[in-house]
């Protein structure tokens, strides 16, 4: 076999681009170890894979925190854990506020609105608020697709969300299984996996991803991408650590831009078909130029506007960027 035959990008071109088969964990390690001199080539390939298997459209989503702070879990990256001296105080968004947020999101042209709560799992009060909120959003004449992220679920709660018309559920595995106990100790990776299994079986779309930059090794990044590929989500959401004041990761460094771009491309080569969404931390990690490079390196979905506790760029800036890149925004009711 010649050197060209064993070059990981040549292999990926044939395996992922031509056949639509994601790279293995071992192959992903090779991708993540590519030097900066191969980065442009890697991003180009990831972009070709995205265009071939997903098309040019970009799914735009807005998110809002329905219940902020006071979470009993100890996810070390999160400013909403009640276990750390974070400046984030508990807050509940009322129904009129939720309706306004959904309207603001729809007005950007987004097709997806995700309602998020910082909880281990939803209690009856939270589910009631979600039910009333969705009803009020519909009564406002807003037909945006609604996703939820409410922590770990029971089967009964999964069924209830399906009955409410929630079409997608976000539940991140956060990081590689081998690294998870270093990040969260109050629940397990396997408990998260179980919720994801129930969501899938109930017919809701699965959104699952995590956060890059939490002290994981290159091997663990590859492991994580391979585990996500095994799950087979409809959407994979990629966050990049924002070191939050008061959390155990307060002093962590922001992921270096080229390293982050390499990771985006590797995730696309692991998962040729799902939506791959730029989520929290992209402003800090990538800046304007890096965001464009990411959009041309495998990403085909973005969150516009603000996040849960952090601010994002104004939506019109991102929409102008997509226009400049000739990437149309996915229309409502268009299948993935």
């Amino acid at each position: 076999m010649t050197a060209v035959d064993t070059d990981i990008l040549a292999v990926a071109r044939e395996q992922v681009l031509e056949r639509g088969e994601g790279l293995s964990e071992e192959q992903l390690i090779a991708v993540l170890r590519l030097g900066d001199d191969r980065l442009e080539e890697l991003l180009q390939l990831a972009h070709e894979v995205r265009m071939r298997w997903c098309g040019p459209e970009v799914e735009v989503e807005g998110i809002v925190s329905l219940k902020t702070g006071g979470c009993p879990e100890d996810c070390h990256f999160c400013s909403q854990s009640g276990r750390f001296p974070s400046p984030v105080r508990s807050a509940w968004l009322d129904i009129p506020g939720l309706v306004r947020s959904a309207r603001e999101t729809r007005d950007t042209g987004a097709t997806e609105f995700c309602i998020v709560a910082a909880v281990r799992g939803p209690d009856a009060r939270l589910l009631s608020q979600v039910r009333e909120g969705i009803k009020a959003i519909r009564e406002d004449g807003n037909d945006i697709q609604i996703a939820c992220s409410l922590g770990m679920l029971t089967q009964e709660q999964v069924d209830e969300l399906v009955a409410m018309g929630v079409h997608r559920y976000n539940h991140n595995l956060e990081t590689a299984r081998s690294h998870f106990p270093n990040v969260v100790t109050t629940h397990t990776w396997e408990e998260r996996w179980e919720t994801l299994r129930m969501i899938r079986e109930a017919g809701m779309e699965v959104c699952c991803g995590g956060i890059i930059g939490m002290g994981e090794t290159v091997e663990q990044r590859a492991e994580f991408a391979a585990q996500l590929a095994e799950l087979g989500p409809d959407e994979c959401t990629m966050n990049f650590l924002i070191p939050q004041p008061g959390t155990p990761y307060e002093q962590y460094e922001v992921v270096e831009g080229r390293d982050a771009l390499r990771t985006v491309a590797a995730f696309r080569l692991a998962m040729p078909r799902p939506l791959l969404r730029f989520s929290g931390g992209r402003e800090l990690t990538f800046g304007d130029l890096g965001t464009k490079q990411g959009m041309l390196g495998g990403i085909n979905a973005i969150i516009v506007g603000n996040y849960l506790t952090n601010l994002g760029r104004p939506a019109d800036q991102d929409l102008a960027m997509l226009d400049e890149l000739s990437m149309p925004v996915k229309a409502l009711n268009q299948s993935l």
């Binding site: 807005g62 998110i63 809002v64 925190s65 902020t68 400046p87 984030v88 105080r89 508990s90 807050a91 968004l93 506020g97 306004r100 947020s101 603001e104 999101t105 950007t108 924002i242 004041p245 402003e283 800090l284 516009v304 506007g305 603000n306 996040y307 849960l308 506790t309 952090n310 601010l311 994002g312 104004p314 939506a315």
Partner: protein
């Protein structure tokens, strides 16, 4: 000028708040009342934020310095 840093809550006149200012201008909403340094209840929404100080009232992304 505020008496307290809206990001870290420390007196604005003490220490270096250059990084705080940069983050407040980009990714962080205010978390502390500039008048008294109390932690505020902050709701971030897709297009803005609302912050409430129990002593000095509401500020919003469209009226950030109104106490």
């Amino acid at each position: 000028m505020s008496t307290f840093c809206a990001r870290c809550g420390l007196p604005a006149a003490e220490g270096d708040h250059e990084r705080c200012a940069a983050l407040l201008a980009s990714i962080d909403p205010p978390r502390f009342c500039g008048d008294c340094g109390r932690r505020m209840v902050v709701q971030v929404t897709p297009a803005g934020w609302v912050a409430n100080c129990s002593r000095h009232g509401e500020r919003t992304s469209t009226s950030p310095s109104v106490g």
